[in-house]
């Protein structure tokens, strides 16, 4: 009911948008909105104009090479593995039928509900030198610590593994949405031209899905660069730990912001390459005739392989860590489930939901603005906003705190001066600033997803509908939205889960007496009270699971022709 009213007002607003001229008032408002979100990015980049030579000399002499090397290693490692773990199962699950494929379809997304540092803690707690596995090994064999070799969980390699395991679902999700949305006819044509299944995948399906896959990959890489909890716990010196250290340890926010700017450089380079390759190809739908996607049944040997390939990421990325957590939770749940916990739960869920909704609405506005106008400034602004994702939460928090506090202080001065009335801190210190920080960070997710979806809708479709007399609003409602529904829900889900897991910005910006599950988990885990951290951690995971299932179903259903 609420949704219906909401959508009605939403659509009428859009109607306004389309019926005015190109550089209309609404367009201007949208540009201002986009600029608003760019502020933290601007502040971070602006720091580059203030040289700080002696600190930089020190950094270059000591730790900078470590930061660069480790960050690059993380990017390459995580990028490679998440492609592998995401694309292959996505294809298998879309095209074939094999044991449990119906469940694996959505189950393979489950690691997405796990924060990276949680999975890091659970593997460390279990497989570390002092943990139960190695301890048991030593007891059984009588070996001492130095007598055997065991992979070190807390290492660069370990960090790559942890991050890949929780980030591959981004690639999977987008690859699968793309495979499903592809016209079946393209695949059938390739078969009449002699392509085996592998060939069809390699030469047709994969290239067509490339924009979506690259979008997923860029999200993964940006998330990797922004991770702090995992690399910090594993003792890996990456840019994020360096930024924290410079900021806090050396009390030098300027240089820390400059380090962040370098971080952004990595991201910008990659984004540029991606955009350039996509320019030439307009990946519209190739055909509008959809037939039901008949999944091929696999023979037992291939079926087994397919099952293993799809089950392994799920096992290592979710089932194992969840069971470790479950075991710890069982031993502590009676104390952990008190009234405080339920308040925590409510806080986390409502915060995540509100942010996800806002992010989607704004992304749609911006996406349509970009699609209908060919003004360079619009495209540029949207690209610029997307950089927010790469900035570590801490940096955004301060990049957000500065302008708002400045605004609050100026307003207060003004009011005190003219009206003898002190407004105090209106905005900073409330949830508004926290949500704003979330949006700055996560708008990229919904924008990318919405844009990838919009790209698939031919402008000609609109024209056909217009000649049939449909208004813009109706076009959106009856043609675009149903086709994009899978992607829209994806955007909603991704932001929701991200906010639930978000840590550094929440730690810094949250108002008094307001805690989230993520904050509680982090604090407990950092005090090395992993067992107690398990309960709130599991709560995050469980809360994140339901949207995962929802999303997965709706993607399958939104494919036209699905019976």
């Amino acid at each position: 009911m609420i949704f219906k009213n909401f959508s009605k007002s939403f659509y009428s607003l859009l109607n306004l948008n389309f019926s005015l001229l190109k550089f209309s008032r609404l367009n201007l408002t949208l540009i201002l909105l986009a600029l608003f979100f760019c502020i933290p990015v601007v502040i971070v980049c602006g720091s580059l104009f203030f040289p700080a030579k002696d600190i930089w000399t020190h950094l270059i002499d000591t730790v900078l090479t470590d930061y660069i090397f480790n960050s690059l290693a993380l990017l390459i490692g995580v990028g490679f593995f998440s492609l592998l773990l995401g694309v292959i199962p996505a294809w298998l699950v879309t095209m074939y039928q094999f044991p449990m494929s119906r469940y694996l379809e959505w189950a393979i997304l489950l690691p997405m509900s796990m924060p990276a540092y949680i999975i890091a803690y659970s593997y460390t707690g279990t497989f570390d030198a002092a943990g139960p596995v190695q301890t048991m090994m030593r007891e059984l064999t009588g070996w001492e610590y130095n007598d055997y070799w065991f992979p070190e969980v807390r290492s660069l390699g370990g960090a790559i593994a942890m991050l890949s395991l929780v980030l591959y679902p981004y690639v999977y999700l987008l690859a699968r949405a793309s495979f499903i949305e592809q016209s079946i006819c393209v695949l059938e044509v390739s078969r009449t031209l002699g392509c085996s299944a592998m060939d069809a995948f390699r030469r047709v399906a994969l290239p067509l899905a490339r924009p979506a896959i690259i979008v997923g990959l860029s999200l993964v890489l940006m998330e990797t660069l922004a991770d702090y909890g995992t690399v910090q716990y594993f003792g890996v010196s990456a840019f994020t730990t360096g930024i924290f250290r410079t900021w806090f340890g050396m009390d030098n926010s300027l240089v820390a912001a400059q380090l962040s700017a370098i971080l952004l450089l990595f991201v910008v380079v990659f984004l540029y390459l991606e955009r350039r390759s996509r320019k030439q190809l307009a990946f519209h739908h190739t055909s509008n005739r959809y037939s039901p996607l008949l999944k091929q049944k696999l023979k037992s040997s291939s079926a087994f392989f397919a099952f293993v390939i799809c089950f392994a990421p799920l096992l290592f990325g979710f089932i194992l860590p969840a069971s470790f957590l479950g075991e710890w939770a069982i031993s502590t749940y009676s104390e952990a489930l008190d009234i405080d916990f339920y308040i925590l739960l409510l806080n986390s869920l409502s915060l995540a939901f509100i942010t996800a909704l806002l992010a989607l609405v704004i992304a749609l506005f911006l996406g349509y603005m970009n699609r209908n106008s060919h003004l360079f400034i619009n495209r540029f602004l949207v690209r610029f906003i997307s950089l927010g994702y790469a900035i570590p939460g801490t940096v955004i928090a301060v990049g957000v705190l500065i302008p708002f506090a400045w605004f609050d202080n100026r307003l207060d001065e003004f009011l005190t001066l003219h009206f003898n009335f002190s407004s105090g801190l209106l905005i900073s210190g409330t949830l508004f600033i926290l949500i704003f920080a979330y949006l700055v960070r996560f708008l990229a997710v919904s924008i990318n997803t919405v844009e990838a979806a919009l790209e698939k809708i031919k402008p000609e479709m609109d024209e056909v509908a217009k000649t049939a007399g449909m208004s813009h609003v109706n076009i959106m409602r009856r043609i675009h939205i149903p086709i994009m529904r899978g992607s829209l829900l994806t955007a909603l889900l991704l932001v929701f889960v991200d906010v639930l897991k978000e840590l550094p910005a929440t730690l810094i910006l949250r108002p008094f007496n307001f805690n989230t599950l993520a904050v509680r988990t982090f604090e407990l885990a950092n005090e090395e009270r992993l067992a107690e951290a398990a309960v709130p951690a599991l709560a995050i995971v469980i809360a994140g699971i339901i949207p995962v299932i929802m999303i997965s179903n709706s993607i399958s259903r939104s494919r036209p022709g699905y019976e």
């Binding site: 000591t62 001492e144 003792g235 050396m250 409502s350 705190l401 202080n409 801190l425 090395e528």
Partner: protein, 335 residues
């Protein structure tokens, strides 16, 4: 629709003013400070509102918020940060007979901007089956090559290590300590990872033979409900370093009243509450920290460990040499 909107707006802008209250920015974890605050509320009727986080974050936030900060008290777990906050002009002077009477002068600021509430020591834990107690002397000795591959210490990004190094710089000068630190790093059994408890566990299972940790972590593990923690803690022993020299390095958890506190009276009341016998005893019994009030008797584990000589270096020097310490640790590769 309207109702949903109102609820949303309400949730977002919830800043309803309260009766008597005090707002605390705490670098102390919630579980370690909230019980005290709750008790305070019960005893005085003043609401205590809490935000936890990192001290550096709060210092940044206080700087930015300026006049309009909602915080009345900044609570930290280290002296260097208190000094830094004072240098940035974030505290105000507090004249309180109670505080001055209870807290020894080396545990509080000379201008009455901050006050220590409890203190702890950075000690050496060792595996008694692999290390003879007689081999241990002080911190400087840890650079000796006999310890090669046998030492575990957490990361240099941790403030406790920074303050330890700062205190050593204060005593011996940068050049000597830089040599010491680089030899210390060469003696590491593994690159720094994990927290103090991890180092204790590492000693217990044989990754290394000695470690530098804060004493309350060891106490916490001995009393832990997790079997693997008590097991590990029992396998190591505590050594008070430098008893024939300056004494073991100590650091405080402390607090100050913010310069623009709106609830100054209530804030001072809270500080005075935290040095009452009741609260101080709580620090000792529950947190395994030493009360700043010398009259308080230490029971249980702290009592068992007995009295020790501690370094009465002026703690503001921990703040003065913090930056030098960080740069030094970077130069020697202490990650």
């Amino acid at each position: 629709m309207k109702k949903t909107l109102t609820i949303i707006i309400f949730l977002i802008f919830q800043q309803l003013p309260n009766a008597a209250e005090v707002n605390v920015y705490s670098a102390r974890k919630e579980t370690l400070i909230k019980p005290l605050l709750d008790q305070f509320t019960r005893d005085t009727g003043i609401e205590a509102n809490l935000v936890t986080g990192k001290a550096d974050t709060f210092i940044k936030r206080l700087e930015i918020e300026g006049k309009n900060t909602p915080a009345d008290i900044l609570l930290t777990v280290d002296a260097a940060r208190l000094v830094r906050a004072k240098e940035k002009g974030l505290f105000q002077e507090v004249i309180s007979d109670v505080l001055n009477k209870v807290i020894p002068n080396y545990f509080r600021d000379i201008d009455n901007h901050w006050f220590g509430l409890s203190f702890r020591s950075r000690v050496i834990v060792f595996a008694p089956d692999r290390v003879n107690k007689g081999e241990l002397i002080d911190y400087l000795d840890l650079a000796n090559s006999k310890w090669k591959g046998r030492i575990c210490v957490r990361s240099s990004s941790n403030i406790y290590n920074q303050s330890l190094v700062a205190s050593m710089i204060a005593h011996h000068g940068i050049n000597k300590i830089e040599i010491w630190a680089s030899r210390l790093v060469e003696n590491f059994a593994r690159p720094s990872k994990g927290g103090d408890r991890d180092q204790i566990k590492a000693v217990a299972i044989g990754v290394c033979d000695i470690a530098l940790v804060n004493n309350y972590y060891l106490a916490g593990m001995l009393e832990s409900s997790q079997e693997y923690e008590t097991y590990a803690a029992k396998k190591v022993k505590l050594f008070w370093p430098d008893q024939n020299g300056h004494g073991a390095h100590v650091n405080i958890s402390g607090a100050g009243v913010t310069k623009y506190a709106k609830n100054k009276e209530e804030a001072i009341q809270l500080l005075e509450y935290l040095v009452t016998d009741k609260a101080q005893q709580w620090y000792s019994d529950i947190n395994y920290e030493y009360a700043v009030n010398p009259e308080i008797k230490n029971t249980a584990i702290l009592g068992k460990w007995g009295v020790f000589k501690y370094d009465d270096l002026n703690l503001s020097l921990l703040g003065r040499y913090n930056r030098d310490a960080v740069l030094l640790m970077d130069r020697v590769g202490w990650k």
